[in-house]
């Protein structure tokens, strides 16, 4: 009698296959979003430090702030401290949205999702694997972008001669909240692409609906939220409160997204799209 084939129905097997595919297709492509983030940050720093009296130059900005009694160096570094975590969160979320669009939207239109559904996996196992894979890549994005943001802040601090002494609670908030935001983006991107797959199909709602990008918009909300929260709240609430409120909110969004997918995902919705 022919031996029973190995049962593949384990998320880790599928994650391993996706990781192998990512590596074989070229790991360098994985870091394009991180490189784009580095380019944007570099551009911002260079523009800021080389400004010669224009409003977007760091010196002019500092001088502008000094009119109202702020110390110049502190203002420059402060901008970095306020914007850095938000930018990391926003770019991570945008990158996750793009990743999920490729992984679900583009694969569904080419028949890749149908092929996976025909493989010896339960739909729930496939969803878990996709969630695990995107979550892992989102974490990689966050690591790369956080490192770049930290380096950028160090460069600005060094070049302006400022000294900073960051508290543990700020560091925790600046690191953890963007990470939670990228995980929330993972849940929202998968939710939009799997439950409303037409959103990921270019032109499915006409020519004026932004095409396949619509499914990615919800995933950007956590990033924008973190950007605005740090920008407008960070100076008036403690880092601990920031971590609790912003972190709690994006964590809740992530859990809600995943739970909704688990409850409502139906393979025929993807196939119909």
């Amino acid at each position: 009698m022919k031996p029973e084939p190995v049962t593949a129905d384990r998320p880790l097997r599928l994650i391993r296959a996706l990781a192998w595919r990512t590596r074989t297709e070229g790991v360098r492509y994985l870091f394009i979003p991180v490189a784009m983030f580095a380019a944007v940050i570099t551009l911002a720093i260079v523009t800021s430090l080389t400004g010669t009296g224009h409003i977007n130059g760091a010196k002019a900005l500092a001088a502008f702030a000094e009119r109202y009694g702020a110390h110049a160096d502190a203002v420059t570094v402060g901008i970095g401290l306020l914007l850095g975590p938000g930018l990391v969160a926003l770019f991570s979320c945008m990158s996750v949205a793009q990743l999920v669009r490729n992984l679900i939207g583009a694969e569904a239109s080419r028949g890749g999702i149908e092929a996976l559904l025909a493989a010896p996996y339960r739909p729930g196992t496939i969803m878990t694997a996709l969630l695990g894979y995107v979550g892992a890549v989102a974490t990689l994005y966050w690591v790369g972008m956080s490192a770049i943001a930290a380096l950028a802040l160090a460069a600005v601090t060094w070049s302006t001669g400022a000294t900073v002494s960051l508290t543990a609670s700020y560091l925790l908030a600046a690191l953890i909240v963007p990470l939670l935001a990228s995980w929330a983006a993972t849940g929202l991107a998968l939710l939009a692409n799997l439950l409303y797959p037409q959103l990921a199909q270019a032109g499915s709602y006409g020519i004026n609906t932004g095409g396949a990008g619509m499914a990615g918009l919800p995933a950007m909300l956590p990033g924008l939220g973190v950007l605005f929260v740090f920008l407008f709240w960070a100076s008036s609430v403690s880092a601990g409160e920031l971590l609790g409120v912003a972190g709690g909110t994006v964590a809740a969004v992530a859990v809600t997204g995943v739970a909704t997918i688990a409850r409502r995902f139906r393979p025929d919705a993807v196939l119909e799209s």
Partner: protein, 294 residues
């Protein structure tokens, strides 16, 4: 069983059984062929009734899906991976260990003559090459059941001949293969039997010759001279004459029936313009289905 999607039912009270061999699924667009394959491969759950593959429900008992190889209408290859890379990736999806993976990839590359293009990127393959890779992927798990959705679509004639040969040899090896196709000339040559779907229902199943008799009665075609009076007389005798130019066309099931009708017509002094086998019985069948759908 019945099956479909959230907003539209597709298959209605379909009852089918397939054993080893090559079985064709034929029908016009929207007949339910792809939905049938999705149910058989455990992607969709029937809304009514049940499906069994090797005695097990593929939607519930996903392990049995390892025994089902699927080549969907869209090849769904990873564009940046090579042909061999796509096969390795799918082995990993199926949970194979490295030694088994290398062996199986090597075997299917050989079996489908894909060696020369093994290192070519999937994004640069022709439609026919991509179809062969898709078939190779379906065979990686050494599946006992193969579901091939329109494998001949867009394939040039030379590749179609090769594919046909591969399918025949797989069927001879004892696999159960279901092939849906619009390429009727191909279908009439390779199938052990044909299942005809229309509007989600099975309207016929059997060998091409059996279907010719039971569904269309178009094994032979007689073109005769005559008008409405002759048409009425033939209708009373059980034939279905159709007007054509200044005469009639009468389709009959087989050679014996054609001889009998010819003798009667000659005895009655009716002029015979043409008596010939239908060019392609499945073509006739398909045209009949299209007319019915309209």
């Amino acid at each position: 069983m019945s099956a479909g999607y959230r907003t539209r039912p597709v298959l209605r009270n379909v009852s089918l059984s397939f054993g080893p061999g090559l079985h064709l699924i034929l029908g016009p667009n929207g007949a339910g062929k792809t939905t049938l394959f999705r149910v058989l491969s455990g992607i969709l759950r029937p809304t009514q009734g049940q499906v069994r593959i090797l005695g097990r429900d593929p939607y519930v008992d996903v392990a049995v899906k390892a025994q089902v190889g699927v080549a969907a209408h869209r090849a769904a290859l990873a564009q940046r991976l090579t042909v061999a890379g796509n096969l390795h990736y799918w082995c990993l999806v199926l949970g194979m260990q490295k030694a088994e993976r290398l062996r199986r990839v090597h075997e299917v590359l050989d079996l489908l003559d894909l060696g020369p293009i093994a290192d070519q990127r999937a994004g640069r393959l022709s439609r026919g090459q991509a179809q062969r890779v898709s078939l190779a992927r379906a065979m990686l798990g050494d599946a006992q059941v193969l579901l091939l959705d329109e494998p001949f679509a867009g394939v040039d004639p030379q590749v179609a001949v090769q594919l046909r040969g591969h399918l025949r040899s797989l069927a001879r090896a004892g696999r159960t293969m279901l092939v849906s196709t619009h390429e009727l000339a191909e279908a009439s040559e390779i199938g052990d039997d044909v299942t005809v779907l229309r509007d989600g229902r099975v309207i016929g199943q059997g060998s091409p010759a059996q279907l010719r008799g039971s569904l269309v009665g178009a094994g032979y075609r007689l073109r005769i001279k005559g008008g409405a009076g002759l048409a009425d007389a033939l209708g009373r005798a059980g034939y279905r004459p159709e007007p054509s130019g200044d005469g009639l066309i009468v389709a009959v099931a087989d050679e014996q029936a054609a001889q009998k009708l010819l003798a009667e017509l000659i005895t009655a002094g009716v002029g015979i313009t043409e008596a010939a086998p239908a060019a392609n019985p499945l073509e006739e069948l398909y045209l009949h289905l299209q007319e019915g759908a309209q």
